[in-house]
């Protein structure tokens, strides 16, 4: 045990860890700025910050646990993880708590958690195991379609909640991992066009609000006070930040509540308005460090399983970051994907840190001891 700890202390990727810890504090500061005036129980300005801090601590606990379990155990348990997740997602559909017309939550004791969030990690684990074992067979087109079937089941289950954004994350993880494992590019191109051509067919399965979001993404000014309001206000907030920003706690849009969902989906806009171009570049810099270290870990992993695990972790974070920021700037449709380490939310924060745990795990196991 002592030997294991020494190894850990010696080999930990401190750059990655430092970037994550720094991001968490950065996130707490911005979260405080955007929620200190919010109406909460007991009108405690630290209400959201306290809860988020709790999630962060919990997340680091899970991260530590993750580090200590050798990822090679996945070779035995990946199927179990996958089917366990399917069962949980089915439970959500039948027994979940619903908010805003969507069932996404399962209650465990006093806490609600989002199985679809942890399903992202389960999917990464399962796909890493599956793809690393079957790398050669994937050159067969029909075999190539098999991971789509596994992922498709998860997508279908969260789509029924309904949660369009999360199902897109699953798809992104799958595509990036397939790309990394080395499937033929023509297969991927074919998949891309096949998906594109099925969009009209999928359209009928979309809920009205989802259709609206897509239409409003194309032209937010159609309904500036309804669905397009969020994006317009968010752009105003980011733009008005300028180079240095209005200063923390001083954003007009943020502090006067013109920004909707500013502690969750649109927290990036608060950064943009209050901390300006400089603050955002700093934030993006931290993200780039994490993703770069992630790819580095993937490249230096001991085996393909580790490499793919790291790739999955990177793809998860990467997709969330780009889609969330693109949405806040009005460049991508509002899909409701939160921003890693900044957006308020327990399940999401814990899964972010779990993903970092996976990266550190792969990194620590790159050498066989």
């Amino acid at each position: 045990m002592k030997e294991k700890l020494d190894r850990l202390i010696e080999n930990l990727d401190y750059t990655l860890l430092f970037a994550v810890v720094f991001l968490c504090f950065y996130g707490l500061l911005v979260l405080y700025s955007s929620t200190r005036l919010a109406v909460t129980v007991g009108s405690d300005p630290y209400f959201f910050v306290k809860r988020q801090s709790l999630w962060i601590l919990l997340g680091f606990l899970f991260l530590t646990i993750t580090i200590f379990i050798d990822y090679h155990n996945l070779e035995r348990y990946s199927k179990l993880i996958y089917f366990g997740t399917v069962v949980l997602l089915i439970m959500v559909i039948f027994a979940g708590r619903s908010t805003y017309g969507a069932r996404r939550w399962l209650a465990i004791g006093p806490f609600d958690f989002q199985p679809s969030e942890f399903a992202k990690i389960a999917l990464i684990a399962f796909l890493a195991d599956f793809l690393s074992k079957n790398k050669q067979k994937l050159n067969n087109f029909f075999y190539y379609l098999l991971p789509f079937a596994y992922t498709g089941l998860l997508i279908l289950l969260v789509f029924m909640q309904p949660d369009l954004g999360t199902s897109l994350v699953y798809l992104a993880i799958l595509i990036i991992m397939l790309f990394a494992v080395g499937v033929k590019i023509k297969y991927l191109v074919f998949t891309f066009f096949a998906t594109l051509s099925s969009v009209p067919a999928l359209w009928i399965f979309l809920k009205d609000y989802q259709k609206n979001r897509l239409i409003l993404f194309l032209n937010p000014n159609l309904d500036p006070l309804g669905g397009g309001y969020n994006v317009i206000q968010s752009r105003i907030a980011i733009g008005s930040g300028g180079f240095l920003g209005n200063g923390i706690f001083s954003g007009l849009q943020s502090q006067l509540n013109f920004l909707p969902a500013q502690h969750t989906d649109f927290i990036f806009s608060v950064v943009g308005e209050e901390l300006g171009f400089l603050g955002v570049i700093f934030l993006l810099g931290l993200y780039v460090i994490i993703l770069w270290r992630g790819i580095k870990i993937a490249l230096e992993a001991r085996d393909l399983l580790g490499s793919l695990l790291a790739t999955g972790a990177v793809s998860f974070l990467f997709f969330h970051i780009v889609v969330n920021i693109g949405m806040a700037m009005g460049m991508l449709p509002a899909t409701g994907l939160p921003l890693p380490f900044l957006s308020y939310g327990g399940s999401f924060m814990i899964s972010n840190l779990l993903v970092i745990g996976i990266l550190l795990n792969v990194e620590l196991n790159k050498i066989k001891w």
Binding site: A180, V181, A237, I238, G239, G241, F277, S307, V322
Partner: protein, 587 residues
């Protein structure tokens, strides 16, 4: 120790590509960010400021109006307005249905109103103005079900006596597009309440006051966060009228169900004590924004209730005009106190026969008797001797054909015929017979009751005419006198004292033994003249003009009854009642 990596080369290659892709994506994000924050930054900053700064106008309370005893006539009361703030509504359809059941406006109408005002969902949309108390109570009770419905208090003009002196007081309403353009003043904005008629219009500048306002910082729900600028509104100033409430009310009751006017003024100052016009209307129906059905009813009424007859109506004056003929003839030396003219009952001129109202004839009459008995033949003769040129000169001296300058808008000027006028308007030459008709106040001549009143004022004051007016003083909202309206000389007519003496004597005799006997009062020496004017509209107009007391007159009266019959029979008793009431009040 470290084993060599088992990761296939192609995977490593793909991972390197992935890193490049990630860097490209982040670069794109940085470029867009640069565009938003560095290039468009200033523009967005302005929009952020616009978002949260609101200018709110605070209306000044409009000045009140009092009668001459400072009894309140017109004031402002709080009116409750029911509005919907669309942004605060969860289920608009359900809300409209519930609200509709309480206030009794159809759901379709409400949703149409809400739709029309969608520019800012945080701005209240007015659904019902001046809501009744019982409905307000119900809305308050069911507040929880009516999220998004707000009650606002707005000042509303309140005319305490409804149709009392409506034509003089006038009414207020929302400024319309033409008025906005016409005033072209940044002080005015759409939705402002301004005077639209009567004193409300004439003294709008004084009554309106000055709007205040503030610039506030608001949050997304429109909640005030901070006041950046504040200017207190300056309340409008109050008017104290020359009108006596009790005398005016008494006159309005006398003319109940009749058409016509009563004017009572003090010849020594021009102050109007009563300005009665019938039929009337209630200015209160304009205060809430008049409904189209009310407007239709009022504006298409054949009796023209909206017309201020004494100021805007023009009528044949009939025999009361004989006093003007008399003065002109006396001044021009056409006649004197002693000249007697024989009335046979008819008068012939160039083959045309003009009759007296008494066809049996008055016999031989002096000027005083001719006035008292209102003999047509006597005045035909004077008119014929004067000729239209000289006659016209005197009408102008009296100020006929001009505005009296009363402090009311849209005063009419009537028609003062002359040879030139007839050629221009009727395209005919002036016949001597036209002068004959004019001499007894018939023919083309049309005067407003106010102009007629001016004639009797001139005689009572013996040439020293004061401008007729309705406002005695202007006082500030805290009760200090801002301006006292002093009697203002309208014009001075330098007729010989004898002329006035003879005419006045004639007017006194009219009451004592002539056509005006019904206006005789034992305790008050009344002098006056009746008139019965033929007109193309049908039944004759009944007129009475007079003053009292005979020596040192302090009150002048004009009674006009549109299609009211004979002056002596219909108008004189009303004048008598008014003068008695006046004496009562004075005592």
């Amino acid at each position: 120790m470290r084993e060599s990596s088992t990761i296939p080369e192609d995977v490593k290659q793909r991972l390197n590509w992935l890193l490049i892709f990630i860097i490209i994506c982040f670069s794109i994000l940085v470029i867009i960010l640069w565009y938003l924050q560095m290039i468009k930054g200033e523009e967005f900053k302005e929009r952020a400021v616009e978002n949260c700064i609101r200018s709110l106008v605070e209306d000044a309370p409009r000045g009140r109006i009092y009668d001459r005893q400072e009894e309140l006539l017109v004031t402002n009361r709080p009116a409750l307005v029911v509005s919907i703030i669309p942004a605060e509504v969860d289920d608009l359809e359900k809300l409209i249905e519930r609200l509709s059941r309480i206030i009794g406006i159809s759901p379709e109408e409400i949703s149409q109103t809400v739709k029309n005002y969608r520019e800012n969902p945080f701005k209240p949309v007015k659904i019902l103005d001046d809501c009744k108390t019982n409905k307000i109570v119900e809305i308050e009770e069911r507040k929880d079900e009516l999220k998004g419905v707000v009650l606002e208090v707005k000042p509303r003009r309140d005319y305490l006596y409804h149709d009392f002196a409506a034509h003089s007081l006038g009414y207020v309403g929302e400024i319309d597009k033409e008025e906005l353009q016409q005033f072209g003043n940044p002080k005015f904005q759409g939705g402002d309440i301004i005077g639209k008629a009567g004193l409300e219009k004439y003294y709008d500048n004084i009554l309106r006051g000055e709007k205040g306002g503030k610039e506030v910082e608001v949050d997304a729900s429109g909640q005030e966060i901070a006041v950046l600028l504040y200017q207190k509104p300056v309340p409008g100033e109050d008017l104290v009228l020359t009108i006596d409430r009790d005398l005016q009310l008494y006159g309005e009751n006398l003319l109940f169900n009749k058409k016509g006017s009563i004017i009572i003024s003090d010849p020594n100052s021009g102050e109007i004590l009563a300005l009665v016009n019938r039929p009337s209307f209630s200015p209160n129906i304009f205060a809430n924004g008049i409904s189209s059905s009310d407007w239709q009813r009022l504006s298409s009424d054949a009796d023209y209730p909206l017309t201020n007859r004494s100021v805007q109506g023009v009528y044949s004056p009939g025999s009361i005009f004989k006093v003007v003929t008399a003065i002109a003839a006396l001044e021009e030396g056409v006649t004197d106190r002693n000249r007697k003219i024989y009335c046979s009952g008819s008068f012939e001129l160039a083959g045309q026969v003009f009759t007296c109202w008494d066809e049996t004839g008055h016999g031989s009459l002096s000027m005083v008797d001719a006035i008292a008995h209102s003999c047509n033949i006597y005045f035909y003769t004077l008119g014929n001797d004067l000729g239209i040129e000289r006659f016209n000169k005197y009408m102008q001296k009296f100020g006929l054909g001009e505005k009296t300058g009363i402090d009311l808008p849209e005063e009419a000027i009537g028609i003062i015929p002359s040879a030139q006028w007839k050629e221009r308007e009727v395209k005919e030459i002036w016949f001597p017979g036209d002068t004959i008709n004019l001499s007894i106040g018939q023919g083309y001549l049309l005067l407003t009751p106010l102009q007629v009143h001016h004639i009797i004022t001139t005689i009572a004051a013996e040439g020293e005419v004061y401008k007729l007016h309705l406002v005695k003083k202007i006082i500030s909202a805290d009760g200090n006198t801002v301006k006292e309206i002093k009697p203002e000389t309208y014009r001075k007519l330098n007729f010989s004292p004898d002329t006035f003496k003879i005419v006045k004597e004639g007017l006194r005799q009219t009451i004592l033994k002539g056509t005006g006997w019904r206006a005789n009062i034992k305790e008050l020496a009344v002098a006056g003249k009746t008139g019965t004017a033929e007109n193309p509209q049908g039944e004759t107009h009944a007129w009475f003009i007079g003053f009292a007391p005979y020596e040192n007159p302090e009150i002048c009266i004009t009674v006009f009854l549109e299609n009211g019959g004979e002056g002596g029979e219909a108008a004189a008793p009303i004048a008598r009642a008014m003068l008695e009431k006046y004496s009562d009040i004075k005592r």
